[in-house]
Amino acid sequence: MVSDPSRTASRDRANSDTWVVIPLYNEATVIAGVIDGLRAVFSNIVCIDDGSKDGSGRIAEQAGAHLVTHPINLGQGAALQTGFAYALERGAEYVVTFDADGQHRVEDAQAMLERARDEHLAIVFGSRFLDDRTQAGFMKRIVLKTATAVTNWSTRTKLTDAHNGLRVIRQDALAKVQLRQDRMAHGTEIIVQLGRTRLPYAEHPVEVLYTDYSKAKGQSLLNSINILTDLFIR
């Protein structure tokens, strides 16, 4: 996932008004590479270590990220919300949410941020289904499409990929988000809440890199059942 972003590095050092928020849970083997890749473009990176047991937090800190450590494991949604609070506290204008397992490309994040700036968008969602770069398996496609259909049905949004971890959110939209679901359904909850802000949003085509590593860690079919039940039972 670490391709050559140095080409644009000098120009994008200006991204000092942007914080990259990375929920981090037991990703010790890949997190340093992810942060290295991001640091070429983004100066402010915060990892929310969600009670990792493999020293992920320390590695992230050594790689040059700011570190916030949950004293106990709370789930990815809670980690995102903590990251939002942290970034807002430090005067962030934009927040980029980025997965720790290296499935996103830094170039996509950069392009999305530029698009948010150029088109005055409050939210830019990454979508792997807007073009055919992403190689998703058949079952994975069904799971994600179902999750997306449910999300679109229960929110007022029209999105093609609801559970993509790559998003750019402007500070005014961010201030209105208060994620309550601690588990994975935050993918939907964040869209519900962002949709309610009625701020301008867009989807941006991104490539999701299904490495063997992320495939092994990714959401299983059973987990998508969890996502659905979490949504309906509170």
């Binding site: 700011h66 004293p71 106990i72 709370l74 809670a78 903590t82 609070a85 942290y86």
Partner: protein, 145 residues
């Protein structure tokens, strides 16, 4: 009254009393007390006059009073489960908020020395400027004159 009926009544009264005493929160406590009192009265009546239950059961189209009791018990157990799950979700949300506050505070404390160091550097780079400004204001050193 049989001995078992007597024991049952004691059990119901004691359990309700304890539940009321241990019930958290002042909110709607009066309402809960009234409900508990009604429950105790109904339970005692049902224990002393079991045939009354059967009459009520017949009214609802159920054969025996014990069946009615079982159905009511199942519904009550379900309601209890739901209430417990909701209470746990609320308490989880509070734990999340607490843990988040702790994490953010720790980060603030950890970044404090960094920020102070940066402020010191800023002060150090500031002082020569102020020094120069003072020199410029000083009439003795004004070479233009």
């Amino acid at each position: 009254m049989t001995l078992f009926q007597f024991l049952l009544i004691i059990g119901v009264v004691v359990a309700t009393g304890l539940a009321l005493r241990l019930l958290p929160g002042e909110r709607s406590l009066a309402l809960k007390r009234i409900l508990a009192l009604l429950f105790v009265v109904a339970a005692v009546l049902a224990i002393i006059f079991p045939t009354m239950l059967t009459v009520i059961a017949r009214f609802f189209g159920i054969g025996r009073g014990t069946d009615l009791l079982l159905y009511v018990f199942i519904v009550a157990a379900l309601l209890f489960a739901v209430a417990t799950i909701r209470a746990k979700a609320r308490s989880d949300a509070r734990v999340t908020e607490l843990a988040r506050a702790v994490a953010l505070m720790e980060a603030r404390i950890a970044e404090q020395p960094e920020r102070e160091a940066r402020d010191r550097r800023a002060d150090a780079s500031d002082s020569p400027t102020t020094g120069r400004a003072a020199a410029a204001d000083d009439p003795e050193s004004d070479h233009a004159r």
